[in-house]
């Protein structure tokens, strides 16, 4: 693939260290996280740990109704409480300045900082109070009286699209927040002529990110400027929406991301708990903190889209995948935000990890009165790969082909270009698949008779490495930027816009700079995620941080290195590429004369350049087009990662309880920059995928009230529930990745659920088409199977619902 910026950065890239010379990024990866000591001693500062003198506290008032009109708000009792310092309603924010994400789709922004006239979900924010202590603020919030006119809640996404459904936002739009299509080839002809065709239905549930750190923010106002410490995955994106929501220039808002206690996509959007403290800080002159309680995090932040699937496929009798048609209905919940990307991602992922030339796919994201769905780790991929990979086993069984062979027969191979223009680079999918199948001893799976209570399952997936999500309305929609300064006192400073949300990118950026300059890790000082101190970065999402941020960081240090080496090349009568930086020295290999210290090298440059320090800037963006989002034509990412999973389960046929006995994961993340970091991402992905498959679900009553907004009632796996995890890193140097790396954090969640699902189906002899597979659901299915012989369970209502959908609106 032609990366246009390659030419622009050619000089800089010419002085990059060669793979055979890597030390830190080389074999062994013997370095530890730069934040590890702070995190094991408790000194790491997270948002809730920011404690400023004279700080006040903010609490939000939430709607108890899923759909209602606000008739009146009465603060009189709350204001009588000693210690209360102020109150806010929607009218305190500029009208029409709704919150959304990203900036490039500002016209889709649909969330008022505080609701003015209408609430659209239980937990919608209608007012805020500010007081001298958290306790008083909590009491005051409870004293605010809001009068509502309750409307009919719309909780079924299929009903939401019907002409007679009440409008959640805009009348006459079928409640669609966005719809997307993706077409190639001639699927109708292929379906008419194929040996094998089918049509199947699946459904996934709503789950939440459940980062252990609750969302929150601290704001202060001084010198006509706001400083906001907040739980964000993208300081610059937060800054954009906070400024927009307040109606002030971006120059007057500084956003700092302290340590972040997990994001998983749930901290991408901007919320009332960030804007209200800003307003109160300006009103009172005091810093103001707002930290959400756990039930608020459950109800008022974001969730993973529940998706209903209709999948049709056409194969030859030998097992070649010829065509796919599918319809994805995503329950968008009450708002858009980061959720608007879900459609496109669901369709792109539906083509992974196989070659399919004829496709006809649509995704619709209707609004409902559920909490807003948004980005979540393995965005759309977890749901899509669950449905499409359970489907793959069904096809294999119908055709009488080994599910492993069916997958290998159709898999994407290196440098394949898909029918809509997706351009793949390195691809080790086959190696991943074979490694996990061998580990689980797939060949001898007959040792577990089908329906015996024990079984194994396989699954494969692909994901974009460095999303092309158009965040900004600029030529480079999705850039990451870095500045590196070399200091003659023997160190370097890296100003990185990348947002470490726990995954460890601060360590990776530090390592890249240290590696290129031949410094120790502790000689590279990191300044991170602060809109005043660090350059622009689109945020941590879409598996873009290592790939885009890492490349940006390498270009920045390369820029500085090229300047420094050009100076010494002139002094020494050689080319910059002849000079090596290693072990704190700058030298020509084998020449004892031309060998100086790093400090001396920097000093010499400064002396020659009138004191100017050596500094470099670098940026990286996927050079895609916004059209990919509208038309689904073109390439989405610079590279793609691939994964395969194998699970061994035991199902207690009496109780329906599932034990995950063993799990193997093969991941093609390019060249790993730190093997333990990659393993950690994979192990965490397995937890998320196992929770998704067997544990987690947000449950609502008929009025749209969340019934389990606590860790007491919403379970995810504990240390006792998790198996050992065997990781296979099937790596190959990716030509576009930083030091050959691709993504390792998101794609790794995608094939987990379906491997477990396929293993459960094998162990029980049933086909389960709906998540989560809880013991209760499985117990009911097993009992019914005993009585009636029924084998397929879940999503039974979907054929009728899909058949009765209104036609897609015309695209303007």
């Amino acid at each position: 693939m032609a990366i246009m910026s390659k030419e622009y950065y050619a000089d800089i890239e010419s002085v990059y260290k060669k793979p055979e010379d890597y030390e830190l990024a080389g074999k062994g990866n013997a370095y530890i996280r730069i934040d590890a000591e702070a995190k094991v001693t408790g000194s790491a500062v997270y948002t809730d740990d920011v404690d400023l003198p004279g700080m006040y506290y903010c609490k939000l008032v939430h709607s108890p109704y899923a759909h209602a009109l606000i008739k009146s708000i009465d603060f009189s009792e709350a204001l009588k409480l000693p210690g209360v310092k102020g109150v806010l309603t929607g009218a305190d924010f500029p009208e029409g300045h709704n919150l959304g994400n990203p900036e490039a789709f500002k016209e889709l922004a649909d969330k008022e900082p505080l609701c003015r006239k209408k609430v659209r979900m239980v937990g919608d924010e209608v007012a805020a109070v500010c007081a001298t202590t958290e306790e008083i603020a909590t009491q005051a919030a409870a004293l605010v009286k809001v009068e509502y006119e309750v409307l009919e809640p719309v909780l079924d996404p299929f009903y939401s699209m019907q002409p007679d459904a009440p409008a959640i936002h805009y009348p006459g739009t079928s409640n669609l927040s966005i719809f997307t299509t993706m077409k190639a080839g001639d699927p109708d002809k292929v379906f008419a002529e194929a040996d094998y065709t089918d049509k199947h239905y699946y459904r996934t549930q709503q789950m939440v990110h459940a980062a252990i750190e609750p969302h929150g923010a601290v704001a202060k106002y001084e010198n006509n400027e706001w400083t906001v410490w907040t739980t964000t995955q993208g300081a610059y994106v937060s800054r954009y929406w906070i400024a927009w929501g307040l109606g002030v220039p971006e120059s007057q808002v500084r956003v700092i991301k302290p340590m972040l206690g997990g994001g998983f996509g749930g901290k991408l959007d901007v919320f009332a708990h960030e804007l209200c403290p800003c307003k109160f800080a300006q009103m009172t002159g005091h810093p103001v903190k707002c930290i959400l309680k756990r039930d608020e995090v459950f109800m008022c932040t974001r969730t993973r889209h529940p998706i209903s699937f209709e999948i049709e496929s056409a194969f030859t009798k030998e097992g070649k995948l010829l065509a796919k048609r599918c319809k994805h209905i995503l329950d968008g919940g009450a708002y858009g935000g980061s959720g608007i990307a879900a459609n496109t991602l669901s369709l792109i992922c539906a083509t992974f990890p196989y070659k399919v030339e004829n496709i006809d796919m649509t995704a619709r994201r209707p609004y409902t009165n559920h909490p807003a769905s948004g980005a979540m780790r393995g965005y759309s991929a977890c749901q899509v790969h669950f449905a499409h990979e359970i489907h793959m086993d069904e096809v294999a069984n119908a055709l009488g082909i080994d599910p492993l062979e069916l997958r290998r027969m159709n898999e994407i191979t290196p440098y394949y270009t898909g029918p809509t223009g997706l351009e793949f680079t390195s691809c080790k999918f086959d190696e991943c698949m074979v490694a996990v199948a061998d580990y689980i001893d797939w060949k001898h799976r007959d040792r577990y008779p089908i329906g015996s209570g024990q079984g194994v399952g396989l699954s494969g997936s692909g994901f974009m490495s460095g999303t092309g999500f158009p965040v900004l309305v600029t030529p480079h929609y999705c850039s990451s930027s870095t500045i590196v300064r070399l200091n003659r006192e023997g160190y370097a400073v890296v100003f990185s816009g990348a947002n470490d949300i726990g995954q460890g990118c601060d360590t990776v950026m530090t390592m890249i700079v240290a590696e290129e300059l031949g410094l120790r890790m502790d000689e590279v000082k990191l300044v991170q995620s602060d809109t005043t101190a660090t350059p622009w970065d689109a945020g941590s999402f879409g598996s873009r941080v290592t790939f885009l941020g890492g490349n940006a960081c390498r270009r920045a240090v390369g820029d500085a290195k090229f300047k420094l080496l050009s100076h010494w090349a002139e002094e020494w009568g050689c080319k910059p590429q002849d000079i090596t930086m290693k072990d704190h020295r700058v030298f020509i290999k084998g020449d004892p004369e031309k060998n100086i210290s790093y400090n001396e090298a920097c000093f010499g440059y400064e002396e020659k350049n009138f004191g100017r320090c050596v500094a470099g800037v670098g940026s990286f963006a996927h050079e895609g087009d916004k059209d990919i989002y509208v038309k689904n034509v073109g390439n989405y990412a610079t590279a793609y990662s691939f994964s395969a999973s194998a699970a061994k389960v035991t199902v207690d046929m009496e109780t329906g309880a599932v034990t995950l006995d063993d799990f193997a994961f093969g991941h093609d993340c390019g060249r790993p920059l730190n093997i333990r970091a990659v393993e950690g991402q994979i192990e965490g992905s397995v937890l998320l995928g196992f929770g998704f498959t067997c544990y987690e679900e947000c449950v609502y009553d008929k009025d749209g009230k969340h019934l389990n907004p606590s860790f007491r009632d919403y379970h995810f796996p504990t240390a006792l529930d998790m198996p050992k995890i065997k990781t296979f890193v099937c790596s190959e140097y990716d030509p576009e990745g930083p030091m050959g790396a691709k993504e390792a954090g998101e794609g790794s969640t995608a094939p987990v659920g379906s491997a477990i699902g396929n293993a459960i189906n094998y162990a029980t002899g049933l086909t389960l088409k709906e998540l989560p597979i809880t013991p209760e659901k499985l117990w009911r299915a097993l009992r019914e199977h005993e009585k009636t012989g029924k084998t397929v369970f879940g999503a039974e209502d979907l054929p009728e619902k899909f058949a009765n959908m209104p036609p897609l609106p015309a695209r303007d």
Binding site: A36, K39, V40, G42, L260, F264, G502, R676, E683, T718
Partner: protein
């Protein structure tokens, strides 16, 4: 209403005036300014606020500050002694047994409690010992490995001492 309480905090005697209805986690964070103990759920489910009460792990969000009176309390800030990390802390660093780090202080306190009671735990016992601490990032694999390595190191050191 406030009352005076006396207790030992990270080895130092403390006399403090505390509201009778204040939870221990809020008291530690807001009054003692020890923010290493985290608020994750405030209902005793996630374990991020775990501290040691007389050497045993307790969630400090469902404990009142009053209940510390007369007891010995250890928080994450008291684990590193004389500038030297505890082997459990060191192993968490070396094994990459943390990612976002928000559960880490509580996780380490539970590990210390486990090792106080059972210096040679099996893998199953380690998993049981941290079953009250939720981690969303790691899948617990490297945490279990780090605690196991720390237990072995501590046992070896004890052997050498004897």
């Amino acid at each position: 209403m406030k009352k005076i309480i006396h207790f030992t905090l990270n080895g130092e005697p403390v006399e403090a005036l505390a509201p009778v209805n204040m939870t221990m986690v809020d008291f530690l964070r807001k009054e003692m300014h020890l923010t290493g103990t985290k608020r994750g759920c405030e209902e005793g489910e996630c374990g991020a606020c775990t501290i040691l009460l007389d050497g045993r792990a307790v969630p400090s969000c469902i404990m009142l500050a009053m209940e510390a009176d007369g007891h010995e309390i250890t928080t994450i800030e008291g684990v590193k002694k004389n500038g030297v990390l505890h082997p459990v802390q060191q192993e968490f660093m070396d094994k990459w047994a943390l990612q976002c780090g928000f559960c880490t202080p509580g996780m380490i306190m539970s590990a210390l409690s486990l090792l106080n009671e059972n210096p040679n735990p099996t893998e199953e016992e380690i998993r049981d010992g941290i079953a009250g601490n939720l981690c969303r990032c790691t899948g617990y694999v490297k945490i279990v490995e780090a605690i196991d390595c720390a237990a072995k190191k501590l046992a070896k050191a004890k052997e050498a001492e004897a």
